[in-house]
Assembly symmetry: C2
Homo-oligomer: 209 residues x 2
């Protein structure tokens, strides 16, 4: 069905979506590759190549229809569906994510949260009540999650991921500083905050001679 889209283009889709959303809010009807490129820090040529790659359509002499293209990208990103999330690990980060409301705006819905610490079990956080990891399988049967958010120690992440995979979870949003090894049909996106900060350290160090 959907033909091949190069990975660099896919990674830019969310950014396209963001800028098109902004433009739509400003009631802009059409935007040229030149303007979009400038906003996004790309070349106009690259924008035209990207659009062509992800199947967008423009009008010569006029530009790209903002609303239509945003909708098209939204569909590619699977925004038409609601995704259910479960958060594994109620440390500082887990707690913050559970309370983060921006997700719901984007049709991501946190439906459960787990921790291994019995002291945290039963506590209400955001819209969910923390459960013990022992109840994972049972809970996943009753209320399956599309995506697991892994905010637990590196040492526990791989095993938890395997357990979740066995429960049918196929999406993994990984915050633990490890690279997960899961079967091909699992989708993993990692957020390595520590590495991101280290990269900033590098840039800071080497920004002028």
């Amino acid at each position: 069905m959907s033909s091949y889209i190069p990975d660099p283009v896919i990674k830019r889709l969310p950014m396209y979506y963001r800028y098109l959303s902004e433009k739509e809010k400003e009631n802009t009807l059409f935007i040229s590759s030149t303007e979009l490129a400038q906003l996004m820090g790309l070349t106009a040529s690259q924008v035209r190549q990207d659009v062509s790659a992800f199947g967008g359509e423009g009008r010569q002499g006029c530009g790209y229809p903002v609303a239509e293209m945003r909708h098209h990208i939204g569909k590619l990103l699977g925004k038409s569906k609601v995704r259910t999330l479960t958060v594994i690990g109620m440390g500082n980060l887990g707690r913050a994510l559970v309370r983060y409301e921006t997700f719901s705006q984007n049709s991501f819905q946190i439906i459960s949260a787990f921790d291994t610490n019995p002291k945290k079990a039963g506590i209400r956080m955001g819209a969910v009540t923390v459960r013990l990891m022992d109840e994972l399988e049972e809970t996943m049967r009753e209320a399956p999650a599309d995506i697991a958010v892994l905010t637990l120690p590196a040492s526990a992440a791989q095993k938890a991921a395997e357990r979740l995979y066995a429960c049918g979870v196929r999406g993994f949003w990984n915050y633990a500083p490890v690279d997960l090894h899961l079967p091909q049909d699992a989708a993993v996106v990692s957020v390595h905050l520590d590495e991101s900060l280290e990269l900033l350290g590098y840039r800071l160090e080497h920004n002028e001679g």
Copy 2:
């Protein structure tokens, strides 16, 4: 001094650092490009090119000296210095980051935190006391920060960044869903959590025909 290193290589440095740290903990003295490549999901050839690019040195027939190479990369990443951080915006994420202890292990030290909400001012969080944004300039004079962590609404991020830049801050770790525009000598690394999750949505949607 330091010769040019291609950007893709730089972005891999933190991952090299992570795996070398693990190997060092296991008391591995040398590691071959083949083994390192397998761990990191790269080709051996790429590892050798990377190492050569960032100025690492191996021993033929033997591999790369783990501890030495880790130290070398650490120096490139500026890990020899302690970096001071200020967190701007005490929402869920800001609070989580202030309490996050992994940073200190990596020689990043949070020394102040700000919010525009007077109700939050004066409250102690993690190792710092929240201050009102009004006190930003004064505080930066007394205790300058190398890096500002921007965990505030998109609409406020650009202006806050400019203010911080004017205070002499040159590193920006940006969590707001905007792209910052700052002078050349500022180093910006953005963590777009929403976009990262959207990418996962895409992968989930398109993982098998």
